[in-house]
């Protein structure tokens, strides 16, 4: 009998560190077969007031996944009205995609109000600082692939 790989498997070698995080995504290569313009992507921060219902976070993230938009940062917290929560969502999209994603978000019954915030880069920097703690991810994916 031939084994496809050695058994027991070797201990995985320590993977090399992943390249450092690049805050700016590489320029988007225009999708074929679409007549839509593909101007440069930029960072946008949305402040979204939603009903404070169970499942509302799932609904918003399902929408992003379903419509093939990526979320850079997402923060959810209470507001002074306990029936309303605020989501701050940072996305990296072009103007047209931004229009599309806000249009789709706006259709959600539990989304009350959407506003684009000024200075998305500063907001992203703050969110990055809040979120950038705990164990380092370096090599985690590579190790799992062994």
């Amino acid at each position: 009998m031939t084994l496809l790989s050695d058994y027991p498997p070797h201990d995985p070698a320590v993977p090399t560190a992943a390249p450092a995080y690049q805050p700016h995504t590489a320029p988007h290569d225009p999708t074929k077969g679409t007549t839509m313009s593909n101007d440069a992507r930029t960072r946008h921060a949305l402040s979204v007031l939603v009903e404070n219902n169970p499942g509302v976070l799932a609904r918003v993230s399902v929408l992003f996944a379903r419509r093939n938009f990526n979320i850079d940062h997402l923060v959810v917290g209470p507001t002074e009205d306990n029936k309303v929560s605020r989501m701050t969502i940072v996305v990296n999209v072009n103007a047209e995609q931004l229009h599309k994603v806000t249009n789709q978000l706006d259709k959600l019954v539990e989304v009350i109000h959407i506003e684009e915030l000024e200075d998305a880069d500063a907001i992203r920097t703050q969110l990055w600082q809040i979120n950038d703690n705990g164990p380092r991810p370096v090599g985690a994916m590579a190790a799992a692939a062994f």
Partner: protein, 601 residues
């Protein structure tokens, strides 16, 4: 150590208990409040199947004025609700238990979501105290259904049941219609319900306002300046009951019309301005009129890939005026010159008024050459079919005769596949709500239950399901429902012993390597015998000479469902065709026959 008792959600109420009935006091139970709300909203029919979590609800339904129709599979309940809604314009309702009952509804929810069909699905769930414990028959259907519904609710408190159910109906029916799910936990159904709250606040749900007059003005400006305009009429005009307005606008302007698969019947097929259906299996004139236009006036349509073909070559010279009730549709697939947000009926009426005002003031557009050109395509490339090479019965003939013999008031519900396309091509639809099909999701198994729902909603109409031998096997259990509940639908199985549409693609694009697309179903099961077993009349026909007599025989039966097994050619193909991913310019009228569109202007 104390053990926490987690009640088994599905069996909170012991047998012999009061179940869903009120326990003395003034307050009704949640279940009674739910049924009472359905009655208050004027619901007459519900399609469903009981189970542990909805026992209280079924107890409350016992003796209620709402007629509950017991289906044999929850998917059937969902499609029946769709067929009911599509045929009547009312909200269709289906009902299922927790877990598997609820998950069985998912296909119908997704289908209704794609085709904007107003339905409300009510499901039971385990007791709120058991949620998250992996209780028996627990499924998070609120989350599962999120991407395939307009909205989904989970109700755990009895006092929110009435308000949530009526809000669900409001959401389903207003704006762009769609499916709404209401999942109610069993403890909420059993508890006493304060019914003072009648609607949820829903501050984020806005129904569209009147179309902007500026947008209407700009749209008409473009229409007046265009040389080759086309009215691209979609399913939104059907849902908005706008067929009268579409006709007015068409006749007033003289602009050629195409109707999508979802909109068959919104504008009469027999109307001289009708150029046919655009899209993958549209008519040559329908495809060309859209493709060669310089202005597309889209009325409740959504530029689906099956209509546009390869996007980068779609209607290269055309600007777009897009009328839609859903703002997110405007500009979704193509850049739009003018977007008119609003109900199709209201928007088209405003276009008519503005057009009348402008032409009275002297505007005089000239579309004559363009109209002549479209009519030329229509004349030169009519729909047709060849006699099958194997000498067998032509499926198109069967469908053509069905349309002719059963008459213009018949409602047709199609499955998905070749037979669906032939049914859209070879029957003339002159009225809206007489053609039901699964356009967006393309769900095999839609036809029989949808026909059942349509017949319940329109008991005086003749309802034919035109189904494939493959599709029929997916939901034919609802024939039992039809027999037992007295719902005499008629089913024509276009039996080509194949998953014909798949086979056609394999013939054209996979060198006739017919991997898993041929069914030995000429015999297994024998559909006529199966029909008899279900308490239906079963007929069979395999010769052109017998087609008329068989259809007439089926038309005579009106107290029982009828199933006709039409054994047709295995080789017939659907033409014309724009192959997936290719340009509308490359439409084939028949195999390897490309129409000559003449010089572009």
């Amino acid at each position: 150590m104390t053990t926490t008792h987690i009640p088994d959600g599905a069996t909170t109420t012991a047998p012999g208990d009061t179940g869903g009935a009120s326990v003395g006091a003034e307050l009704r139970t949640g279940a009674e409040a739910l049924v009472g709300t359905l009655e208050r909203l004027g619901v007459e029919h519900v399609f469903g199947l009981p189970g542990g979590a909805v026992l209280p609800l079924y107890d409350a339904l016992y003796g209620a004025s709402v007629r509950h129709i017991l289906v044999r599979h929850e998917q059937g309940a969902g499609h029946a609700a769709q067929g009911y809604a599509a045929a009547t314009g009312k909200v269709g309702v289906c009902l299922a238990t927790s877990g598997p009952g609820a998950t069985n509804l998912v296909t119908a929810l997704a289908d209704a979501n794609m085709d904007s069909v107003p339905i409300v699905a009510i499901t039971g769930n385990v007791a709120s105290t058991a949620i998250g414990s992996d209780a028996f028959q627990e499924a998070d259907i609120r989350s599962i259904s999120m991407p395939v519904t307009k909205h989904s609710f989970l109700v755990t408190r009895p006092e929110e049941i009435a308000a949530t159910v009526s809000s669900a109906f409001h959401i389903a029916a207003t704006g762009r219609p769609g499916p709404v799910l209401v999942d109610v936990t069993k403890d909420a159904l059993v508890a006493a319900a304060d019914e003072t709250m009648l609607q949820l606040p829903m501050p984020g749900y806005r129904t569209p306002t009147v179309p902007s007059p500026e947008a209407v003005r700009d749209a008409v400006e473009l229409m007046l300046g265009a040389r080759r305009p086309v009215l691209y009429v979609g399913g939104g005009c059907l849902r908005a009951n706008a067929s009268e307005e579409v006709r007015q606008l068409a006749e007033l302007t003289g602009i050629p019309v195409v109707t999508t698969l979802m909109a068959r019947g919104v504008f009469p097929d027999s109307h001289p301005q009708h150029m046919g259906m655009p899209g993958m299996h549209g008519s040559v004139s329908g495809v060309a009129t859209l493709q060669k236009s310089d202005l597309i006036i889209s009325l409740g349509a959504r530029f689906d890939d099956r209509v546009t073909g390869a996007k980068d070559t779609f209607a290269p010279k055309a600007q777009i005026v897009h009328v839609d009730i859903d703002p997110s549709e405007i500009g979704k697939n193509f850049p739009t010159a003018v977007g008119v947000v609003g109900d199709a009926r209201a928007a088209i009426a405003m276009l008519v008024t503005e057009w009348t005002r402008r032409t009275a003031a002297g505007a005089a557009p000239d579309y004559e050459r363009w109209i002549a050109k479209s009519l030329g395509w229509k004349r030169r490339y009519p729909l047709g079919y060849d006699a099958p090479s194997d000498g067998a019965l032509a499926p198109q003939l069967v469908i053509e005769r069905l349309g002719a013999i059963s008459g213009p008031d018949t409602i047709f519900a199609a499955g998905v596949g070749q037979h669906q396309m032939w049914a859209s091509q070879f029957i003339g639809y002159d009225q809206p709500r007489h053609w039901l099909n699964s356009g967006g999701l393309g769900t095999m198994g839609y036809a029989v239950p949808a026909a059942m729902g349509a017949k319940v909603g329109r008991p005086d109409a003749t309802v034919w399901a035109i189904d494939g031998d493959g599709c029929f096997q997916m939901t034919n259990q609802e024939l039992a429902t039809c027999s037992v509940e007295g719902i005499p639908i008629k089913v024509a199985i276009i039996n080509n012993a194949a998953l014909g549409m798949v086979k056609q693609w394999q013939a054209l694009f996979y060198s006739e390597r017919f991997s898993h697309s041929q069914l030995p179903s000429m015999q297994v099961p024998d559909f006529a015998t199966l029909a008899t077993a279900y308490g239906c009349v079963g007929l069979r026909c395999d010769r052109a000479a017998d087609v008329d007599a068989t259809i007439e025989r089926a038309m005579e039966v009106d107290d029982q469902p009828v199933v006709v097994d039409f054994r047709v050619s295995q080789d017939a193909m659907v033409w014309p065709m724009v192959a997936a991913g290719t340009s509308n310019d490359d439409i084939q009228h028949a195999r390897d026959v490309r129409p000559d569109f003449g010089e572009d202007e």
